[in-house]
Amino acid sequence: MKTLFDYASRECADGLFPECDVPSAAPSSVLGAEFVRSRAPRIPNLSEGDVARHYTALSKLNYGVDDGIYPLGSCTMKYNPKLNEDAARISGFASLHPRVDVSLAQGALGLLYELGKILKSVSGLPSVSLQPVAGAHGELLGMFLFKRYFEARGESGRKRILLPDSAHGTNPASAAIAGFSVTEIRSNERGTVDLDALRKELDSTVAGIMLTVPNTLGIFEENILEVTRLVHEAGGLCYFDGANLNSFIGRARPGDMGADVFHFNLHKTLSTPHGGGGPGAGAVAVSAPLVDFLPVPRVVKAGDEYRLDWDCPRSIGSIHGFYGNFLVAVRAYAYVLQLGEEGLRAVSENAVLNANYLMERLKTTYRLPYDRLCKHEFVLSGEGLPNHVSTLDVAKRLIDYGVHPPTVYFPLIVHEALMIEPTETEGREALDRFAEILETIAREAAEHPELLHDAPRNAPVRRLDQTQAARNPVLTYPFRAEG
């Protein structure tokens, strides 16, 4: 595959630009001679047409939610309605300058205020911040709030965060960056928090627990009320990672289950494009004791007017410039308005139905280590496939069938994990087709294992040497020697 540097440079017209009509100065007189390049940068000289064709060719190699099922467990890669995009392109939103006077941004502030109200009602918690720009950023904010809460109470000795081994991988990182140490709580044989293990760890050094709800096995903590009660009794706080909210939105509220902090992945649950690094929105809702500590500015309503409130002396300050990723909030708001309450309940109903349908069908072909009703996702194991076929081989073979593979080798508590989240937007036909492909691949593993060991065979690139890439990464473009 070519990069832009591999095309032959050709002379392209720069006569398109008019003569400069302002006084010019020699770069060295402005910058100082030592900062002026002695030779031209090595930027390929290509025509607009060359560049457009290059990127169009690359885009044809892409696979996204507009192409087909994207069952990447833990990621909620569902179809995103195009009406969201229309809303985000309304020029009053898209062209709004973040420093414009609030009197000229009433519609935008109103949207943030109303979205906040919806998130409060969905979570059952009294206050919300839309400032974090990713799920993990919401986690980090949550951990800062824990820290400030205990400082304010004179309990700075609470330095430990308890983390089930079925939590999202970002949770321990967020806790550590906020200055906590992490204690892992093992899962029991049902795939949920082992209450005895939890009781053993609870003491006056514990700041709280971070629960992924439902957890990365797609299983809901059936003892969640007991877990949060125990943590609260020990003086700790409860963080719920809400990345999997599509499995219970409209049906259960974190606030009713004892959550003190709950983060939304607006970009997952409320359908804005994500993957590849953003932009995201990790809104955070909190319980009453934490409200004062939320970031500034906050959107408040006085009479019919919205304004930004910076005067919150107990706030931890800002954790991102301005108001977060505003246009992600616009898309999320458009999505919620399209669906309404009933539609949101249908989201969780279909997410859970689709996952259980696929799980029941596939568990006769692949091992299912935790065989019980799941929520929005489930974890199969490639262990026991014949002819030394691994989960990685299965994933690569899926690419040959034109399907995006699921998450593999996570969570770590399942050997050879294949973590499948079909999402609520797939119909039965797409689910059946995906299951058929996985069944075909299992047959191939027995009859033609070389098809799996060599996969992918039909992709633009064959099996990549990821070990070599990690051990000896080449991070720069190797320019040919210049004459």
Partner: protein, 125 residues
């Protein structure tokens, strides 16, 4: 691969070879096989003091990043610098050239609850 009978083992899949106060530590053959190709090893600093069960380093493979826990407490007196440029040694020779660090034990009793080779082999099945 055989598990040396002169080593002691942890349930987290570290091995330790004790000679006097010196404890040489590595990860087991089972651990390296589970992790897959190791691409990076983070070692402790020489002179660092670690508690038994505390974090000694991390081993990163193409599949996962795993903590290595100290089977015994004490001061780190030697680390295997070779692994910084040749992490694959952990895969190729987990029980010998792929060792991670040597700890000077502060309490010899730390080794008492570690498994012998037979018990460890029973654990991994």
């Amino acid at each position: 691969m055989a598990y040396p009978t002169t080593f002691r083992y942890t349930k987290d899949h570290e091995w330790v070879e004790i000679e006097g106060k010196r404890a040489r530590i590595g990860i087991t053959d089972h651990a390296q096989a589970e992790l897959g190709d190791v691409v990076f090893v983070e070692l402790p600093s020489v002179g660092a003091v670690v508690k038994k069960g505390g974090q000694l380093g991390t081993v990163e493979s193409v599949k996962a990043v795993s903590d290595v826990f100290a089977p015994v407490g004490g001061k780190v007196v030697e680390v295997n610098k070779e692994l910084e440029t040749s992490p694959e040694t952990v895969n190729q020779s987990p029980h010998a050239d792929g060792w991670l660090a040597v700890i000077e034990m502060s309490d010899p009793a730390d080794a008492n609850d570690l498994m012998d080779a037979a018990a460890y082999q029973a654990l991994i099945g």
